[in-house]
C-alpha cells in the first residue's frame, strides 16, 4: 500500500518537524520590559542589533514589575523569561529574595565602565531615566517648576496622574512636606516618617487618577483627564516628538533610576542572556538608546557618543539635575513589602 505508507511517512515527517521546531523556540531569547516607547527603543537599540549579529531569535513580553509572576516562575522551575528590565527597587527586592542570577560579579560587567550605582549584585544598568512632572502647557497660567508641585492643589487645581505604587510617591510626599532630599530615606525608614508621607498623600488623594503602565500618563494628559502627571521622562518626550502632544516637563526634584537588565534564576538560556546583557553595555551600543528615547547611557564611555540634539532632554543634563534624588533600591528591598501592603490598603479605602 504505497499510498498509505506515503501518508504515514508524511505524517511522521510532520511530527518530526514539529518536534524539532520546539527546541528552536526554546533556543531563542525572551526579553521582558515595560512596553510602550521604552520597549520600542530597546528593541531598536539592543534587541534587533543583537539578534542580527548573533543570528538568534529574540521574543518579547511586557510586565509592570509584578514580582509575584516572576516568583511563581522561579518557584515552579518553569522560567519562561531570560532577561528582564527592572527599576532599582524591583531589582534589589528580587535579588534579595533569591529570584535572580547574581551576575554583578562577572568580570564582563565589572570592566564595562558603568556609572556609580548602575551595577549591583544581580542587575546591570543600561540607561538612566527619571520620574518627572509632566503637564498640559495651557492648563495653568504659570507652569509648575518642580515635582512637589503635584501636592500644590491651590496653585495647580485639577486632577493629577500618579503611578499606583509607593515607590517615588512616598519620597515625593516627604520632599513636599519639607524633608531635605538627603534625609528622605532615613525619614521613610521610621514609622513616623511613613505616617507623615501618607498624611501628605491624603491631602491630594481625591484629586489623583492612578496609572499603572508607563504609556498611560501621556494618554491621560492628552485626553485632558489629568492636567499634570508624574511620569517617566522618556514617555513624555516621545509623546511630544511623535504625537505633537505639546506637554511641558518640570525637572526639579526629579527622582532618578536605572533601567537595568536582570536574569531570572533558572533561565534556560543563561549563556545567551549574559551575552545579550554584555552587548547592551558596549559603549557604541549603549549610546544608541538615547537616539530612540530620552534616557541617558550608563556606560561612561558612551556619554561622548550620544547625539548632541538629544542631550538637553536627558535626566543627566546639568540644567535638569537640580535637587535630583536617586531611587534607593536597597531601601525598597528592605521595606518594600510592608510599604506596598500599606499603600495598597490605603488606596482602597
Amino acid at each position: 500500500m504505497p499510498r498509505a505508507r506515503s501518508f504515514k511517512q508524511s505524517f511522521l515527517a510532520g511530527l518530526v518537524l514539529i518536534a524539532v521546531s520546539f527546541p528552536a523556540l526554546a533556543d531563542g531569547l525572551t526579553v521582558v520590559s515595560w512596553g510602550g516607547a521604552l520597549q520600542e527603543a530597546q528593541t531598536k537599540a539592543f534587541l534587533d542589533p543583537y539578534a542580527k549579529a548573533n543570528n538568534i531569535t529574540v521574543s518579547q513580553d511586557t510586565w509592570s514589575g509584578e514580582l509575584a509572576k516572576l516568583r511563581a516562575m522561579v518557584d515552579s522551575g518553569n522560567v519562561a523569561w531570560d532577561v528582564i528590565d527592572v527599576d532599582p527597587q524591583t531589582g534589589a527586592t528580587a535579588c534579595d529574595q533569591g529570584l535572580l542570577e547574581k551576575i554583578g560579579a562577572d568580570a564582563a560587567f565589572k570592566s564595562a565602565g558603568l556609572v556609580d550605582g548602575a551595577l549591583t549584585d544581580c542587575a546591570v544598568g543600561t540607561s538612566v531615566y527619571a520620574t518627572i512632572l509632566a503637564f498640559q502647557k495651557q492648563a495653568f497660567p504659570q507652569a509648575p517648576t518642580k515635582l512637589t508641585d503635584i501636592f500644590d492643589t491651590k496653585t495647580f487645581p485639577g486632577k493629577r496622574g500618579v503611578r499606583k505604587s509607593p515607590v517615588d510617591t512616598l519620597e515625593l510626599a516627604l520632599l513636599a512636606d519639607g524633608v531635605a532630599a538627603s534625609d528622605v530615606y532615613t525619614t521613610l525608614a521610621t514609622p513616623a516618617g511613613v505616617d507623615r508621607a501618607f498624611k501628605k498623600l491624603d491631602t491630594i488623594k481625591k484629586d489623583i487618577v492612578w496609572w499603572e503602565a508607563g504609556a498611560q500618563p501621556p494618554q491621560l494628559l492628552k485626553s485632558g483627564e489629568v492636567k499634570m502627571a508624574l511620569a517617566w521622562n522618556g514617555r513624555i518626550a516621545d509623546a511630544n516628538a511623535k504625537e505633537n502632544a505639546d506637554l511641558g516637563i518640570a525637572w526639579t526634584n526629579q527622582i532618578r533610576g536605572f533601567d537595568m537588565w536582570v536574569i531570572p534564576s533558572g533561565s534556560k538560556n543563561l549563556a545567551a542572556a549574559k551575552q545579550f546583557v554584555a552587548f547592551s553595555v558596549k559603549p557604541d551600543v549603549n549610546a544608541t538608546l538615547s537616539t530612540y528615547i530620552a534616557y541617558g547611557p550608563t556606560v561612561k564611555a558612551a556619554s561622548a557618543l550620544v547625539a548632541k540634539d538629544v542631550l538637553p532632554n536627558l535626566p543627566s543634563a546639568p540644567q535638569n539635575s537640580e535637587g535630583a534624588l536617586a531611587q534607593d533600591g536597597a531601601f525598597w528591598a528592605k521595606n518594600g513589602d510592608a510599604l506596598n501592603a500599606r499603600f495598597s490598603s490605603w488606596i482602597s479605602q
Partner: protein, 433 residues
C-alpha cells in the same frame, strides 16, 4: 392508555403464564426485584437530567469545593519545618524555646533551602509576621557562614545575630501554632480580624486591608444599583407589558439590545461618555450649563450609573413576564368601583407584580455582588468591590489562600441573601408563571 408502571404490568403478565406459576419465585425475590426495579426506574427518570447534573458537578460543585479547600489549606510551615513544629509543642510560649529547637530549626531550614521550599515558607510567615520574609531569608543566608555546628548554643547565637527577632517569641509562636495542614488563618484574615504580629508577639500596628468595609461597600453598591434599577425598570416593564404587539416588540428590542453587546464595550462607552472631555461634559459645556467639566469618571457615581445600565435588562425581563399575567380587567374593575388611577394600581396591580420585582431585584443584586470589570474601569480605587481584590490577590500577589477565603465569604453571603428570597419568590409566583 398507558399504565403508570409499565414494567410492573409486564411482570404481572409474565407471572400469569403457567410456566411462571410453576416456578413461582419466593416473596423475597419478588420484593427485591420490585425494589431494584424502582431503583432502575428512578435512575431512568434521572437520565434526561444527567448532562445537567454532571455539568453542575464538574463546573460548580468541584470548583467551589477546591476553592474552599484552598481557603483552609495552610501547610507551608509544617511542610518545611516538620521537626521544628513538633519540638515546639513542648514549648510553653513564654520567652524563647530551648537551644536544641534552634538547632533543629536551623538544620531544617538548610534542608528546605536545598529542597527549594524556603520561599513558600518565608512568604507564608511574611503574611503573619511583620518583616517575616526578610527574617526567614536572613536566617537562611547567615547559616551558610562558619560556626560550630555541633553546639546548639552556636546555632542560637548565629540566628539571633541574623535578626534580633529570633530572640523573641513571635516567630516561634507562629511555628508552634501551624503544625497541621489546615487552619482558619486565611478566613480570619478575609473577615477582617487582625492577623499580623510583631516579632515580640504583640499585634502589629501596620495598617492592612479593611476587608469588612470592602464587603460593606460591595453590599451597599449592589443595594443602590438594585434599588435604582427597580425604580427605573418598573415603569418600563409596565409599559411593555401593557403595550400592543408591535410597540411591545420594538420596546423589547431596545431592552435586549444591551444584552447583545459585550459588557466590555458598554463599559468603555461609558468611559468615552463620562470623561473630562467626553460626550456629556462637552454637551453640558456647549449648552453653557457648566463652565468647568464635571469630574464624573473614576467616581462612585460613574460606577453606579454604568452598573445600572448593564443590569437593567436582568431586572426588567422577569417583571414583564409577571406583569403580562396580571389580568387587566381587575384594574378596570377597581376604577369602576371608584378607585383613582394611582390607588387602583397600588392596591390591585402592584401586589401581583411583586414576585416579578423580587425575582428581577434578586437576580440583579446577586450579579452585582460579583461585579469586577465595570468598577475597575470606571470607578476609582475606593469604589472597587470584593471581586477586584479577589482578582488582585489571585493574579498579582499570588496569595491564593486569601483570594479563596474572600471568595468563600462572598459565596456564603450571596447564598444567605439569595436562598430565602429565591424560595419566597418561587412559592409566591408558582401560580402565576
Amino acid at each position: 392508555m398507558t399504565l403508570p408502571y409499565g414494567d410492573v404490568g409486564l411482570m404481572m403478565t409474565q407471572n400469569d403464564t403457567p410456566a411462571a406459576k410453576a416456578a413461582a419465585p419466593s416473596v423475597r425475590v419478588v420484593r427485591s426485584s420490585i425494589r431494584s426495579d424502582s431503583h432502575r426506574r428512578a435512575v431512568r427518570a434521572a437520565l434526561p437530567a444527567a448532562p445537567l447534573l454532571i455539568f453542575l458537578l464538574v463546573f460548580l460543585v468541584i470548583p467551589i469545593g477546591s476553592i474552599v479547600h484552598t481557603a483552609v489549606s495552610d501547610g507551608e510551615i509544617a511542610r518545611a519545618l516538620p521537626l521544628t513544629t513538633q519540638a515546639l509543642q513542648a514549648w510553653d510560649g513564654d520567652d524563647v524555646p530551648l537551644s536544641a529547637v534552634y538547632m533543629t530549626f536551623g538544620q531544617e531550614l538548610e534542608a528546605a533551602g536545598h529542597a527549594g521550599s524556603v520561599r513558600p515558607l518565608s512568604r507564608r510567615v511574611g503574611y503573619e509576621l511583620s518583616r517575616g520574609a526578610n527574617i526567614i531569608l536572613g536566617a537562611q543566608r547567615i547559616l551558610s557562614e562558619d560556626f560550630d555546628r555541633a553546639d546548639p548554643q552556636a546555632w542560637k547565637a548565629q540566628l539571633i545575630k541574623a535578626d534580633p527577632a529570633w530572640g523573641q517569641s513571635g516567630v516561634w509562636s507562629i511555628f508552634k501554632h501551624y503544625n497541621g495542614r489546615y487552619s482558619a488563618f486565611y478566613l480570619r484574615w478575609a473577615t477582617g480580624f487582625p492577623v499580623k504580629i510583631e516579632a515580640d508577639g504583640r499585634l502589629s500596628q501596620e495598617t492592612s486591608y479593611d476587608f469588612r468595609s470592602i464587603y460593606l461597600r460591595t453590599i451597599l453598591i449592589s443595594l443602590v444599583v438594585t434599588g435604582l434599577t427597580i425604580l427605573i425598570g418598573y415603569p418600563v416593564a409596565y409599559v411593555i407589558a401593557n403595550a400592543s404587539g408591535r410597540t411591545a416588540a420594538v420596546l423589547l428590542f431596545f431592552i435586549l439590545l444591551p444584552f447583545w453587546t459585550s459588557l466590555l464595550v458598554r463599559t468603555m462607552s461609558w468611559i468615552v461618555f463620562l470623561q473630562t472631555n467626553g460626550v456629556l461634559n462637552a454637551t453640558l459645556a456647549g449648552t453653557g450649563l457648566i463652565s468647568e467639566p464635571l469630574p464624573l469618571l473614576y467616581t462612585r457615581l460613574a460606577t453606579i450609573i454604568a452598573m445600572i445600565q448593564i443590569q437593567l435588562p436582568f431586572t426588567v425581563l422577569p417583571m414583564i413576564s409577571v406583569m403580562r399575567a396580571i389580568p387587566t380587567n381587575q384594574v378596570k374593575a377597581a376604577r369602576n368601583l371608584g378607585a383613582g388611577p394611582l390607588r387602583a394600581h397600588a392596591t390591585i396591580f402592584l401586589p401581583q407584580a411583586v414576585p416579578g420585582i423580587a425575582a428581577g431585584g434578586l437576580l440583579t443584586f446577586v450579579l452585582c455582588l460579583g461585579f469586577y470589570l465595570t468598577p475597575a474601569l470606571v470607578g476609582g480605587p475606593s469604589d472597587q468591590m470584593v471581586s477586584f481584590f479577589i482578582a488582585r490577590f489571585t493574579n498579582e500577589d499570588l496569595n491564593w489562600g486569601l483570594a479563596s477565603a474572600l471568595s468563600v465569604i462572598l459565596i456564603l453571603g450571596a447564598g444567605l441573601v439569595a436562598l430565602p428570597l429565591a424560595r419566597h419568590v418561587a412559592r409566591h409566583s408558582s401560580d402565576r408563571i
